[in-house]
């Protein structure tokens, strides 16, 4: 019995009371294992190993491959090796109890890891779901006067709108451009394998191309509305709009078209996001991308706030420009040409406040 107790410690070169595969081999070579008890222990270990493998494969199936999965795989492999290592006749019941305890602890850690990963998945889903909710919220009240708000949302500062906005929010292809830069960086796990990284880059390039085409189509639709407004709005010089229709219904018809374009743009934006998160990136990369997306928006917002001109843009009026509005109608006739040419010749000077 004492010899049996010594056996594992005899092969455990690190003195950590854990035997690795090499140590196990040494122990196995030097031991006989012919009792039924030992066989039962092996069976037990095998069943537990199968369970562990099933858990592992479940994890992979749910979340795809990643660094964390690799880590988990190592953990599981170690566990099974250790289990096999313990499955000798010489291993005592007490030692087995200890191993079981260890195994339970490791399983608990594994479970915790898996739960954490499911949590990430939930968070990604939640984050993605926020976008359509946000867009719906933005679109739902769509009365006539809300439509311009969708194109120039108040929560965007002027510099944000100028640098990023396309029909009221992020340009869909720019979202994928952002993914592209992040994928190229070493921070994403998929770039650890060059062949995988190349495949992702190819997929991304194709998606960016497709999204840009869709953007161009939406641009065309908007251009058509903006170009024909001089014919279709109720105060158009030549009234080609529907006969008998009142002014507001003409405006409504045009705004309805604009709203449709905005909705298409929002759908395309969401599509770009979903493609990035669900089709291009692995789970951990998707989470990292969403963090970067939110962080970058915040950085740009803060910078835009710094650039904000408190009084808006200003302009130095040309000579006799301001006062002319106060002059009588009779003198206006005489003055207007002077003023107009005055502006043109002297130029309107503009300056920061």
């Amino acid at each position: 019995m004492a010899e049996l107790r010594k056996m594992p410690s005899g092969v455990n070169s690190e003195g950590d009371r854990m035997i690795d595969f090499k140590e196990l081999k040494v122990m196995m070579m030097s031991a006989r294992w012919d009792s039924m008890d030992a066989f039962k222990e092996i069976r037990n270990c095998q069943v537990q190993e199968e369970e562990s493998q099933a858990m592992q494969s479940k994890g992979i199936e749910r979340e795809g491959d990643s660094d964390e999965t690799d880590h988990l795989a190592v953990v599981v492999q170690c566990m099974t090796v250790h289990k096999r290592g313990r499955s000798t006749k010489e291993v005592s019941g007490g030692m087995f109890g200890l191993w079981r305890q260890e195994q339970k602890t490791r399983a608990a850690r594994l479970e915790k890891q898996l739960k954490a990963r499911w949590k990430i998945e939930e968070l990604i889903e939640e984050q993605l779901n926020r976008f359509p909710a946000h867009y719906n919220h933005a679109v739902l009240p769509a009365r006539l006067k809300d439509v311009p708000q969708l194109l120039m949302p108040k929560w965007f500062l002027p510099h944000e709108l100028a640098t990023l906005a396309w029909l009221g929010d992020w340009r869909p292809s720019a979202i994928l451009d952002l993914v592209h830069v992040l994928v190229q960086s070493s921070s994403f796990s998929l770039s650890s394998s060059s062949s995988n990284s190349n495949a992702v880059e190819r997929l991304l390039a194709q998606l960016i191309h497709e999204i840009r085409i869709e953007e161009a189509i939406i641009d065309e639709e908007m251009a058509e509305i903006q170009a024909t407004c001089i014919i279709l709005l109720p105060f158009a010089p030549i009234r080609n709009h529907r006969r008998g229709a009142n002014a507001l219904s003409c405006i409504r018809a045009e705004f309805k078209k604009i709203e449709r374009v905005i909705v298409k743009a929002q759908q395309l934006r969401l599509k770009a996001l979903e493609l990035a998160v669900k089709k291009v990136l692995r789970q951990s990369d998707a989470a990292e991308f969403l963090v970067a997306f939110a962080g970058i928006q915040e950085v740009i917002h803060q910078l835009a706030a710094k650039q904000k001109l408190p009084k808006g843009p200003v302009i130095l009026p040309a000579q006799d420009f301001e006062g002319s509005e106060r002059k009588s109608d009779a003198t206006r006739h005489q003055q207007s040409s002077f003023r107009v040419f005055g502006i043109r010749k002297s130029g309107v000077m503009c300056t920061r406040p």
Binding site: A162, T163, Q226, I230, F255, P313, M349, R352
Partner: protein
């Protein structure tokens, strides 16, 4: 006591005090609405017609319209930080904003207005539209201005339209590339700085603004040149009617009654209740 000569000179403070662009726009708009448009309207309606006076008033309104684009250009070349405010002008009302293309009217608007005059002349005999009623009391040269347009004019319009078809998408493409380049630089900075704390993208934003300024200047140059070329290709009556139409359209956006009705309307634009995703 003021110097006896002070009445002949403007004080330096008055001369140098900048006014908000919003106020400049209001003044510019009021001049168009209250002075130049009535002048042109009057000379188009006066009988017998006086082509010289009409030409003079036509050029007044033309220069007034062009001067606005020059002011926009000067505002952004002086300070590129003005650009976002001019691309998204808060002083334009809710009715106007959706129709703004890079801060002002879409360049196609000008050619479409011209086309609508020519088309109307074609359909004139079949219709009794509002325009006829409006111009009924006008001299014959004005009423008949668009009848049988010259071949030269048709060729010129087609030439302008071809140019626009090339240049407008190119402008949009430049905006797209600039925004995409900015996002790329910001993302690189994010990766390099490993997070937002140390990030500095002010240089990237400055570079983007400068590029967008050049796009904005080109958009204004395009609008200016289209208006000038159209008026250049038209005779004095056609040119006056074209600019009158354009000015009326700009004024129409600020029709107080229509705006009030627009603002008060509570009916949803469409029946749709949400995005079908």
């Amino acid at each position: 006591m003021p110097s006896p000569f002070s009445i002949f000179s403007r004080s330096s403070t008055t001369k140098e005090t900048p006014i908000p662009f919003k106020d400049y726009y209001t003044n510019w708009f009021n001049t168009l609405k209250n002075t130049l448009l009535p002048l042109l309207h009057h000379s188009l309606s006066s009988s017998p017609s006086t082509p010289t006076l009409l030409s003079s008033h036509l050029h007044l309104i033309l220069h007034h319209l062009l001067s606005y684009y020059e002011s926009l250009d000067l505002a952004v070349t002086t300070n590129s930080n003005n650009l976002p405010y001019l691309l998204y002008p808060s002083w334009r009302n809710s009715l106007e904003i959706p129709f703004l293309f890079l801060g002002d009217l879409h360049p196609y608007v000008f050619t479409n207005l011209l086309r609508s005059f020519l088309d109307e002349a074609d359909n004139d005999e079949d219709t009794d539209n509002d325009r006829q009623v409006l111009v009924f009391d006008r001299p014959c040269q004005v009423v008949m201005a668009w009848k049988d347009p010259s071949k030269h004019l048709i060729i010129k319009i087609e030439q302008i339209e071809r140019g626009l078809r090339l240049m407008v998408p190119a402008l949009l493409d430049r905006v797209k590339k600039t925004q995409s380049g900015f996002v790329g630089k910001v993302a690189e900075e994010w990766v390099n700085c490993e997070g937002k704390e140390k990030m500095d993208v002010s240089e990237a934003m400055k570079a983007e603004m400068e590029e967008l300024v050049s796009v904005f200047l080109d958009a204004n140059r395009l609008r200016r040149s289209v208006i000038s070329e159209i008026v250049g290709a038209l005779n004095v009556y056609q040119g006056a009617l074209f600019l009158e139409g354009l000015a009326q359209f700009l004024v129409g956006f600020q029709d107080k009654n229509l705006l009030r009705e627009f603002e008060r309307c509570k009916t949803p634009v469409s029946e749709r209740v949400g995005l079908s995703l």
